[in-house]
């Protein structure tokens, strides 16, 4: 019986007491080529938003693209926008941020996945991405 194969897993197993994992040694799908996020794009890879924080000018349309083999969905933590449909592999969701502010969002299927969009005023300032 194999319990876990990483230090993290071993610590968890110790904490839990009896933990039994399948016997077959796992190997995971090869990571897809890391998507170089477009200027206003967020790539979802390995259950992570990439980049985790994106700064844009007001009026910018932001696109999330799911590069995982599992569906994800985008929801605003403060109900600032209507949640996306469930995005299967390679599906995208877009939203145009018109009002400056900081928008926290998460995957409504896997809520431990979170990210932030910082929207700056369209005029004035010299902030860039």
């Amino acid at each position: 019986m194999s319990i876990s194969r990483t230090l993290q897993g071993a610590l968890l197993a110790a904490a839990l007491g009896a933990v039994c994992a399948p016997v077959v040694a796992p190997f995971v799908l090869p990571a897809r080529a890391q998507n170089v996020a477009a200027a206003n794009g967020i790539s979802i890879d390995n259950f992570t938003f990439n980049p985790p924080t994106l700064t844009v000018k007001a009026g910018t349309t932001v696109t999330w693209t799911n590069k995982d083999d599992i569906p994800h969905g985008i929801a605003s933590a403060s109900n600032a926008f209507t949640r996306s449909k469930a995005m299967d592999t390679d599906d995208s969701f877009t939203f145009t941020f018109t009002t400056p502010g900081t928008y926290r969002y998460f995957c409504y299927i896997h809520p431990h996945m979170t990210g932030t969009i910082v929207v700056q005023a369209a005029t004035g300032g010299n902030a860039t991405q």
């Binding site: 876990s4 007491g17 569906p71």
Partner: protein, 312 residues
């Protein structure tokens, strides 16, 4: 386990655990008072006289359409259901611990129903997060939620055992884990109030009620609160899905168990960059999919969970 072995009445009749691994299947018993090893997995264990036998099936993910090595989620579900139909003793009913569908579409639920319906068994469902992704989050409840409370929770009794189906995939919070919510917790507290501490309790929900691995979201934020209402009971069994692998632990009188998926396996906690589907050699896939067969014997209340892989 011993740290929970307190001299506080009910728990003195200690829950004991015996585990036997045979290939990828596990035979596991919990008996009051005396160690009760069932030994090598044997279908006879499910056929003991005067027993309540039921099945747990989980994570069908109908609509999951990935390439090799996965044939398709309907196909592997059909293989599991064929095994159910071939059981020598007809189970009393089946529990489905969620993620029937991959994307909550009517067609996916239809396809799942068609296959699962071949058992002609009563099926008690709780939703997984994949069953609540339609925009209005209503398709699951329309089909499987009749007579349930709130987002789909309920309880029922069978052969003196009290079964509780909980929903921990609704109203999920940014950065959080599974969520039961105040309304459901209140209902649960009232549901078990006044029941004799000797009533065996079976709780089932999709996401594990205990914290398996928070980095991957494998736990329920207010699960400990729910379990606190069940502390006084002599035998509590918690059946979950979500993590697509068999995992179990015993804590005091509470035994936790997760079932395999019928569609695809997921990696052991922390053993991969993410909890995405594991790619395994085609010949090994069916040893990592399967169902669980659970038996309560009357009177002395032992419980046996037999996880049966599709192959191996």
């Amino acid at each position: 386990m011993s740290k929970f072995d307190r001299d506080d009445g009910v728990s003195r009749r200690k829950v004991l655990e015996c585990m036997t691994w045979v290939g990828t299947a596990v035979l596991w018993t919990v008996a009051g008072g005396v160690p009760h090893a069932l030994g090598i997995i044997d279908k006879a264990a499910a056929q003991e006289a005067h027993a309540l036998t039921f099945l747990q099936i989980s994570d069908s993910h109908i609509g999951f359409d990935f390439k090799t090595p996965y044939p398709n989620a309907v196909g592997t579900l059909e293989e599991c259901i064929a095994k159910v139909n071939a059981l020598p003793t007809k189970p009393a009913f089946m529990i489905h611990t969620g993620d029937i569908s991959h994307l909550s579409t009517a067609a996916q639920f239809d396809d799942g129903d068609k296959v699962i319906g071949q058992t002609k068994l009563d099926v008690h469902y709780v939703p997984g997060e994949h069953d609540f992704v339609d925009q209005e989050q209503k398709l699951f409840l329309e089909r499987y939620g009749k007579g349930t409370k709130g987002a789909g929770w309920y309880s029922f009794d069978a052969n003196g055992v009290h079964f509780i189906g909980l929903v921990n995939v609704h109203d999920l919070k940014a950065g959080g884990l599974g969520n039961l919510g105040a309304e459901q917790l209140e209902w649960l507290e009232a549901d078990v109030k006044g029941r004799s501490a000797s009533t065996p309790i079976v709780v089932f929900a999709h996401i594990p009620l205990w914290t398996v691995y928070p980095n991957w979201g494998w736990g329920t934020d207010d699960g400990a609160r729910a379990l606190s209402y069940l502390k006084r009971f002599g035998s509590v069994t918690v059946l979950n899905g979500h993590i697509h692998q068999v995992m179990q632990k015993v804590e005091g009188n509470v035994t936790f168990h997760t079932a395999r998926s019928t569609a695809f396996p997921q990696p052991a906690p922390g053993s991969a960059p993410s909890p995405g589907p594991m790619k395994v050699p085609a010949e090994k896939l069916r040893s990592m999919l399967g169902i669980a067969n659970i038996t309560f014997k009357q009177n002395d209340q032992p419980l046996a969970i037999i996880d049966s892989p599709l192959e191996g």
